[in-house]
Each structure stands twice: as structure tokens, then as C-alpha cells.
């Protein structure tokens, strides 16, 4: 069944708009979204009336409107017949593209436009307070004074306990992420120099076991990324279509304490726990749909706001066995020099995290078409992108390929 969807649609155009805190003109999330969308439509060589489906990630936190999807389509003067926001936290970003694949294959529409946009780094100064409000249950968690790092730290605490991972193993991910960020023109930490495992361990404790350098840096600006998707028969009319080889998504809970109320589900197992995530299900579906396996993947981006999450995702994406993410990275398998190209923008830890990031997918497509100036990975033809949000609540996985199978 899923085999029919593999390679059935392609990304035929991308539009991007980036603003940095230091720029003369700081753009809002809506400006970023409108400009990136317009660029994507122009790059595709299609007319705005050909956009049949329009999917956006959740409303930007920095630009609240009741119906943000309509706010943006109103700017673009498009009239889609199928439009909605996809709100599975950060996983909803790739979720827009998954929905687009289904929409264009239905035959109801020819072209789908998918957009994410956020500029919270510019507009919301107190990210720690604001994030804690958004990521903890207002009744049962927030009155205890949690921060986002401390909520993820619950999972880290269990992961270290159950699998024997160490702070050094977590730190190794931050070190390798930083190497890549030094090569990316838009990375938040581009000019901050390389770091060592000792630097991470000596950085101040935020929420045990997470040190400052185990945590994502909030992107100092704003980013919008827009994609045009169409089905195979139409994709052949466009130059350099990027094939969507496979995808998957799973959501298991809302708040972290609620996660421990989830049980008897295939992905979790019989007993509640914090360390089996929906990423494994999403990855399995993506691999099945594409007919590919982890060995076939040339480049990987993971959506991981804390270092230990990368270790867990490497396992759940099938690059190593469950519990062996730590030894895997310590053995050099994600090394900037010679390892699996992993978070080639620098990841959330050093590129910076901008909510609802489709920029990871953009980076992957740049790499597989040889357009990643200054950081180009040789011979990367197949890429895997992971998206996630909530406290490991929602996960998406997408595999894209330069060649059609």
C-alpha cells in the first residue's frame, strides 16, 4: 500500500527568506512567509491560480492570528481548494509536505504550496519563560516552575539510566554539530569557533544533566521556507525535481507527564516509558515506502533541541541499535571529518532552532543537488530529514532522493 506513495510526488521549487537580528530591516514571520512563498511560486514557473492546495505549519508564535493559513493566503492572493494548518508541533512542518503528497496524488489538485515561518528570536526576548509556558501543562506542570530544558531532561535522565549513556557522549554531538555550523553562512554560531567535549562539560548547568552547550541556541532572527509539490507526471515538466521517496509521522502524547499515561501502544510497548518515541514508527514507514534502508542514506538532519536527543534519534532512525547511540558517536560515526554527514547546517545546537523548521529539508535538497556552497558533501544523492516537536511528542521522517527509483 505504502509502496504506491513512494516516489509518487516531487518538490519542484523552493523559496527561502531569512532575517538576522543584525539586519537593517527586520522582517516579521508574515513578511518572511509571504516573500518565501512568492519566490517558490516564481521559481516553479507556475501561476498563483495553479496552487490548488496550501498547507502551513502552526501559526507563528510571533504573529498570532486566529486563522494564520488564511492570513498568509490573503497576502498571496491564492484560492486553494484544500488548505489547513498542520499542527503536530515541529513535526507538522514535514507534515505539510506529507499532506501535499496525498493531495496531489488524489488528482483533486495539481500543485501544493507548503510554508513554515517564524521570527520569534527577534520578537520574543524571554524564550525561556515563553517556551516553558507553551511546553508544560498549565495546571499540572507549570506551577512547579519547569523550563523546556528541564522537561526534556526527564527523558535524558531515563535515557542515561536505562542505556548507560554519559555526559561525554551527549557532548560529542554538540562538538560535531559546531564543526558544521562554522561552514554555514546563516548559522547562529558561525563565528563562535570550534568547541571540545570539555567545553560542553564545563559550561554551566541549565537543568541536570543538560549543560548550556547541550541545549539548542534560539535562532537570532527569522526563517521562512516554502516548497511547491506536484505529482510525478507533472514533476517531469520541471527541472531538477527532488523525489519524495518516503515519509512517516507519529504523535504519542501532549505533555511530558501525560506521556507516562500512554501504554499498550505498538511504539511504546506495554509499560509506559519515556525512551521509545514515535520516530521509530515514522522511520519504519518512510523506509518501507521508499524501499531504502539506513545504509542507503547519504546525509541526515535531525530535529533535536538537546544533545541527547540526537543519540536517541540515531537509534530510532536505524543508524545503530537501541541504546548504542552514545558508542556510535564516540566511535566517530558522525564525525565532521569522515563520518555520516549529520546535521550539515550545525543542527539546532549550533545553527540555531527556529520553530517549525523546514530549513532542514531545504539544506538536504541543497546538498543532494550540489548547491551547498562551502560545506558540500560529496556524492550525496539520498537524504533523510527528521522533524520533531513537543517533548518528543510528535515525529516526522522524510526521505528525499535526486533520482527516481
Amino acid at each position: 500500500m505504502t509502496g504506491k506513495l513512494g516516489y509518487s510526488a516531487a518538490i519542484v521549487s523552493i523559496g527561502r527568506c531569512v532575517t538576522k537580528r543584525d539586519d537593517a530591516a527586520i522582517l516579521t514571520a508574515l513578511q518572511l512567509g509571504a516573500i518565501a512563498s512568492s519566490r517558490a511560486i516564481q521559481n516553479a514557473g507556475i501561476k498563483r491560480r495553479q496552487i490548488g492546495a496550501f498547507f502551513t505549519g502552526r501559526c507563528p508564535t510571533s504573529y498570532r492570528t486566529l486563522q494564520y493559513n488564511q492570513t498568509l493566503l490573503n497576502e498571496l492572493k491564492i484560492a486553494p481548494v484544500f488548505n489547513t494548518e498542520v499542527t503536530a508541533h515541529g513535526a507538522g512542518a514535514l507534515g505539510t509536505i506529507e499532506l501535499a503528497v496525498l493531495a496531489v496524488n488524489s488528482g483533486l489538485v495539481d500543485y501544493a504550496l507548503c510554508v513554515t515561518n517564524e521570527a520569534s528570536g527577534v520578537w520574543l526576548k524571554d524564550k525561556v519563560g515563553q517556551n516553558a509556558a507553551g511546553e508544560s501543562n498549565p495546571q499540572f506542570e507549570a506551577p512547579y516552575g519547569p523550563t523546556t530544558p528541564s522537561l526534556y531532561a526527564q527523558v535524558a535522565c531515563r535515557y542515561l539510566h536505562e542505556y548507560g549513556a554519559t555526559s561525554e557522549m551527549m557532548a560529542k554531538v554538540a562538538v560535531e554539530n559546531r564543526h558544521w555550523a562554522l561552514t554555514h553562512p546563516h548559522a547562529a554560531m558561525r563565528n563562535r569557533g570550534a568547541i571540545t567535549i570539555e567545553d560542553v562539560l564545563n559550561s554551566r548547568m541549565i537543568a541536570s544533566p543538560l549543560h548550556l552547550l547541550d541545549c539548542a541556541v534560539n535562532y537570532p532572527g527569522g526563517i521562512s521556507t516554502a516548497f511547491i509539490i506536484t505529482r510525478a507526471e507533472l514533476a517531469h515538466n520541471h527541472s531538477n525535481p527532488t523525489w519524495i521517496a518516503g515519509f512517516g509521522q507519529q504523535t504519542t502524547h501532549e505533555w511530558i507527564s501525560e506521556r507516562m499515561g500512554a501504554y499498550d501502544l505498538d511504539v511504546i510497548g506495554h509499560e509506559p516509558n519515556l525512551t521509545n518515541t514515535g520516530c521509530a514508527t515514522a522511520a519504519r514507514q518512510a523506509y518501507e515506502m521508499s524501499g531504502l534502508k539506513p545504509d542507503d542514506i547519504d546525509i541526515v538532519q535531525t530535529s533535536a533541541p538537546f544533545s541527547f536527543v540526537h543519540l536517541m534519534m540515531l537509534e530510532e532512525l536505524g543508524f545503530c541499535k537501541k541504546g548504542e547511540g552514545g558508542p556510535f558517536v564516540m566511535d566517530g560515526h558522525i564525525d565532521f571529518d569522515g563520518g555520516l554527514p549529520f546535521n550539515t547546517m550545525g543542527g539546532y545546537l549550533s545553527f540555531g532552532q527556529m520553530a517549525q523548521g523546514l530549513y532542514n529539508l531545504h539544506e538536504t535538497i541543497d546538498q543532494i543537488w550540489g548547491q551547498a556552497e562551502g560545506r558540500q558533501v560529496p556524492d550525496a544523492h539520498v537524504g533523510l530529514v527528521h522533524g520533531h516537536g513537543g517533548i518528543l511528542a510528535s515525529h516526522s521522517v522524510m526521505i528525499v532522493s535526486r533520482e527516481r527509483a
Binding site: 526576548k125 524571554d126 509556558a133 498549565p138 512547579y144 516552575g145 528541564s150 535522565c157 507516562m260
Partner: protein
Amino acid sequence: MTEPSIKLEDWAQGISMRAGPVSLGLYQPSPETMEYWHGIERRELMLRQCPACQRCFHPKRIVCSDCGSSELTWVRASGRGSVYSFSEIHRPPSATFATGVPYINGLVRLEEGVHLFTRFIPEPGPVRINAPARLDFRVLESHWLLPVFLVG
């Protein structure tokens, strides 16, 4: 701010919390959880329970995920449990909580099989996974009277 006394007719107004200039939103005891908050005022920790299968649930549950019953009742927790996970917070979410750092938040596993987010107090300590935890009630930095767990 004072310790809130929860009334059903007040619930939709919520209680505003701020972190500097940023609103943390409204903490809103709501009709389906009111008995939990009334229990706290009596120094009792209340959980949900399915009368058909006896399984206990988080106080927020509305239906039984085993049999589908929507007739869940309230049951008083024994107050005995153990530490499932924890984190010592050094960077607080707001000035409100800065007075308490470092403090330890985590998930407690109650002997009824329910997990709750809570504050662990190392009395006598230390806080570590599987350490026994027993219920107490404290007014925390949020000025709310809340269930907490003493560990060690």
C-alpha cells in the same frame, strides 16, 4: 499573590502568571479537574479511577483507556511512590521561580500506577531514580499550594 481557593464559578478567569514581560498564561483549574484542586486544599491527592476495571489514572483523565467508560470516579492516593525521573533546575523560567533555584522537578511513580509531574524535595535525600518518595504539601515559588514529594 495569595494561595488560591478554587471555586467552580471562577475557573474560566484563571490565574495569570508572568515571566518578566511575557505571559505564562492562565493556570486554570477547570470543571473536570476541580476535585483535584479541592483535594489539595484538604491536603489530599486525588486521582481518577475506573469503577469497572479499577485502573487509576492521571487526575486529568476523562475516559478509561482500558474499557472506554466515561464514569470515572475520584480516589484518594496513598501518597507513597518512587522517583521515576528528575532534573535539578539551575536556570529558572522566570523571576518568580528564581528564589528557589536550584530545585528539582520530576515524575513520581505512585503505587497506584499513576505518574505525576511534581517537585522533589531532598528530605533527607538524595534524589535518585527509584528512591522512595512520600507525599507532602508545600506553597512553592508560584505561590500555589501544591503536592510535592519528600525523597530519601
